[in-house]
């Protein structure tokens, strides 16, 4: 992954005819070859953002370039680089899989290439369905067809809008494997998802959007580190009225009834301080009957970010 941007979004705003402001002054760079996860609650502006980059929605203000090409002035070059898999399962029910995927390739200005279409269909386990009409396929298979359509013209950037919504576990795994393979082949992937653990597992970088504004854009690892924290909870043998003064040096909290002592620490620090804490507890004569640790997930981070920007 390079730091070169394949998509540059500057000052992008969208106000719908109803007056609703879906996007407010968005600045965002997508790096070539990365997997970028866009997270946000329903109605946050994820789909509007994707739709503008893909040319389906007209921006009110701001500019977007894809591979250096302005999406409005130089829309042909910009759009030719993009594959889009929208959220809704919208397919031409009466067409065959082969016909609809070939149609997409032509629509994006590429000469017919049966070998490429075959490769895409095989990669998505659709080859044995190539002559089936789409209406005869299951929901998961239709989702694959939509991905095949988006990949039919060999895009450099792939947008996946909620690709695993309503998809069974097995297909979801397949899909993530495919996304990794695509990334390895150099395709930049931008996805939105409700499954935060997926973003946690897949993404190189994460953007959180809420109420039309980007709350944060960060390397996933950095995000997890800077917002993530770990806590050690000690279940005390006997309740304490207050944190004993000999333990003042630690960042300790007592729960509401004094039965648990909670220690918050940084897993990435040179020393966590756990060994010293346990030693001092023993010296202070505080016994505990159990302990457990918790780590904040991307989900916790997401919820706290969304709440903060609300």
């Amino acid at each position: 992954m390079s730091t070169e941007s394949i998509i540059e979004i500057r000052g992008l705003s969208k106000r719908y005819a109803s007056g609703f402001e879906a996007l407010k002054n968005i600045d965002l760079d997508i790096r070539r070859g990365e997997i970028f996860a866009l997270l946000g609650p329903n109605g946050a502006g994820k789909t509007t953002l994707i739709s503008i980059v893909c040319g389906i929605v007209t921006p009110t203000e701001g500019r977007v370039t894809v591979g250096g090409h302005d999406i409005i002035r130089d829309y042909r070059a910009a759009r030719a680089k993009i594959g889009l898999v929208p959220q809704e399962l919208t397919t031409d029910a009466f067409e065959t899989v082969w016909a609809t995927v070939s149609f997409s390739r032509g629509l994006f200005g590429k000469p017919p290439d049966p070998a490429h279409v075959e490769k895409v269909l095989k990669a998505l386990s659709l080859w044995d369905k190539k002559d089936s009409k789409i209406l005869a396929l299951s929901g998961g298979m239709k989702r694959r067809v939509m991905i095949a359509k988006a990949l039919s013209h060999e895009p450099e950037v792939l947008f996946l809008d909620e690709p695993t919504a309503g998809v069974d576990v097995e297909l979801r795994q397949d899909m993530w494997n495919l996304v990794r393979e695509l990334r390895d082949s150099g395709v930049t992937i931008i996805l939105t998802t409700h499954y935060i653990e997926e973003a946690e597992e897949m993404a190189d970088r994460v953007g959180v959007i809420n109420r039309g504004q980007l709350a944060v854009v960060e390397d996933k690892a950095v995000l997890m580190r800077s917002f993530g924290k770990k806590q050690l909870t000690l279940h005390l043998a006997e309740k304490l009225p207050a944190v004993p003064s000999e333990l003042d040096g630690y960042d300790l909290e007592l729960n509401h009834d004094g039965s648990e002592l909670i220690y918050t620490y940084d897993t990435h620090a040179a020393r966590t301080g756990i060994t010293a804490l346990l030693g001092d507890l023993q010296r202070a004569g505080i016994a505990f009957k159990d302990l457990h640790t918790t780590q904040s997930s991307l989900e916790d981070i997401f919820v706290s970010l969304v709440r903060r920007s609300a």
């Binding site: 042909r76 032509g106 629509l107």
Partner: protein, 253 residues
């Protein structure tokens, strides 16, 4: 020019025609043929000649025109409305394709289909009633112009419509009556004088009159007027479509 895209849309739309052969070709040919049988061969034999042409033959250009109008509208409006309805329009909107190319694909296919239909009806009619064509080139010119103009109008309706009901509204409530009253079944000279004047506000009169002239050299208005009016309708359609594409009306938010 993204010719691959034009071809993709054109072939996609034509594939729909072959897939629905019964509904898109057989049914209109059959229903128009019934007119020839009933009004031409059966009742027609008891009706006087009109301007020296027997009634069955007189009907041919008008009935072909009637089919061209209704079929062009139906094909083109459905062709663009259906992807809007199902949502598959997203792909066309996100493709590296200009509005002119979108138009060539959708309107081109709809017009091709109605022109084919018109020629099939003409061939069928020639088995039932005597037909001769005085100016074959002009006949083709009127046929093609009408198909393109009304496919364009259909395209506009398909973008404007918000429901299947609205899709049917203009063809059923406006175009169909205008076609029936536009001289399909009679020469406007047969009307009372005041109606002859009112009828001139009906655009279909000019289409049918010109088309009939190319067959039998009889017309309600001068053929040059028909050509000018037809081109005028085409221009109006193009202006509306240009506005639709410039504003993204009902296509883009």
């Amino acid at each position: 020019m993204n010719l691959y895209a034009v071809k993709a849309i054109y072939l996609f739309e034509m594939a729909r025609t072959w897939r629905t052969l019964l509904q898109s070709i057989v049914s209109p040919v059959l229903s128009t043929s019934l007119y020839f049988v009933v009004f031409g061969a059966a009742i027609g034999s008891r009706i006087d000649e009109i301007e020296g042409v027997n009634y069955g033959s007189f009907l041919v250009p008008g009935l072909i025109m009637l089919s061209l109008l209704t079929q062009s509208l139906a094909n083109a409006s459905f062709g663009i409305y259906f992807p809007r309805f199902t949502g598959t329009i997203y792909e066309v909107l996100s493709a590296p394709i200009s509005y002119v190319e979108i138009l060539l694909g959708y309107v081109g296919a709809a017009a091709t289909k109605s022109a084919m239909l018109g020629l099939i009806i003409l061939a069928t009619a020639s088995f039932i009633v005597p037909v001769h064509i005085e100016h074959p080139v002009w006949m083709i010119v009127f046929l093609v112009l009408t198909c393109v103009t009304f496919s364009l109008l259909g395209f506009i309706i398909g973008i404007w419509a918000q429901s299947f009901e609205q899709l049917q509204l203009v063809p059923m409530l406006i175009v169909m009556p205008l076609a029936f009253l536009g001289g399909t079944f009679y020469s406007i000279e047969m009307l009372p004088e005041v109606w002859q004047k009112i009828t001139l506000f009906n655009p279909v009169v000019y289409l049918i009159s010109g088309f009939r002239w190319s067959f039998y050299e009889i017309s309600d208005v001068h053929v040059a007027v028909s050509v000018v009016m037809t081109l005028g309708f085409l221009s109006i359609g193009l202006i509306i479509v240009a506005w639709i594409f410039r504003t993204g009306y009902r296509l883009k938010a």
